[in-house]
Amino acid sequence: MHEVGIASSIIESIEAEARRRPDAQFTAVGVRIGELSNVDRDALAFAFEALTLKTPLEHLRLEIEWCPRRQKCLACGEEFVVKDWELTCPKCGEARSTCIGGTELDIAYLELEEPCEKS
């Protein structure tokens, strides 16, 4: 529902970067979306495409890495992916664990081509 706002924030970041390096050709942006981030991948991809259409960023690829919820066991330190809301440690059976992944809403990287300096 708010994916247009999220896409706008991503585009603003790229535009700021583009102003900093006017000669670079941006080809892709990588984002990480966690399953607890409340962002829908397809809606984000659609919003991004719609907002960049007929702009200088039209050909920029949006690469989405989906991040499942991950927990770290408070007893043995095991790190595990949560399935079916099971927060119990699969290794030692401890019930308490802390969330270490799944809330991501990050811009991870940009791919760009810069003209080589030729003497």
Binding site: I6, L36, N38, V39, L87, R96, D106, Y109, L110
Partner: protein
């Protein structure tokens, strides 16, 4: 060439929220952010809460809606400063909206700032408003599985309030199951059940709020010394 960026998509909102949080700490303001589906009873809870305070208690309210100032009109009757944030279609409040309206309201601490978000269980959970706690409301006329359907907000909320408990005899709602589902997502989430109509459960709610205020004050003092 790949260049590592590593920044939050909502870093601008996060920056403003951090400024708000700093302001709250300096002025000894406890800010809480109420989030629920439309119609779960956020405004009714705020009305009853404002009505329970002793006159002159330093409290201010910001209430968000897509359209109308109906909620602000309801809340103004209690004599506290209230401001309606009309988002004009945006489905959540962000830190910039809160900052602007807080400035216009001219509220300074110490005191309590109650922020009623736009009725929506999805989008408001992504936007930090600098609050000390997010509070999620679930009414007994909804489904017990809502925490599983909207895990993002139940994961981030410090407290879940079950509302409209006066209707429990008339609906098939199992509070125990709803809490179990919420704790599957967030084992440490606090839980209260209340009725804004009858006042049942309000003592516990006001005690929860007072305890948080006490904790926030102690943290502010510790940060200064």
């Amino acid at each position: 060439m790949r260049e590592v960026v590593e920044k939050k998509v909502l870093s601008e909102n996060d920056r403003l929220a951090a400024e708000l949080r700093q302001r709250y700490r300096e002025q000894n303001i406890l800010c809480v952010n109420f989030i629920s589906s439309p119609g779960s009873g956020k405004t009714a809870l705020l009305e009853k809460t404002l009505g329970s305070f002793a006159p002159g208690t330093p409290v201010a309210v910001l209430t968000g809606d897509l359209q109308t100032d109906n909620d602000a009109r309801r809340l103004m009757r209690y004599g506290y400063p209230v401001r309606q944030i009309v988002t004009g279609g945006t489905c959540h409040l962000d830190a910039r909206m809160v900052e602007r309206h807080l400035n216009e309201l001219g509220f300074r601490g110490p005191g309590l700032l109650l922020v009623e978000n736009v009725g929506n269980l999805v989008c408001p959970s992504s936007y930090d408003l600098g609050e000390a706690a997010k509070i999620v409301l679930l009414s007994v006329t909804e489904g017990e599985d809502k925490p599983l359907k909207y895990p993002g907000i139940f994961h981030r909320a410090s407290l879940m309030i079950l509302t409209k408990t006066d209707l429990l005899p008339h609906v098939e709602f199992d509070p125990k199951l709803a809490l179990e589902n919420a704790r599957k997502i967030h084992p440490e989430i606090d839980y209260l059940a209340l009725s804004s109509k009858t006042g049942e459960g309000f003592d516990q709610w006001l005690a929860w709020l007072a305890a948080l205020q006490q904790k926030t004050r102690q943290e502010a003092t510790a940060a200064i010394s």
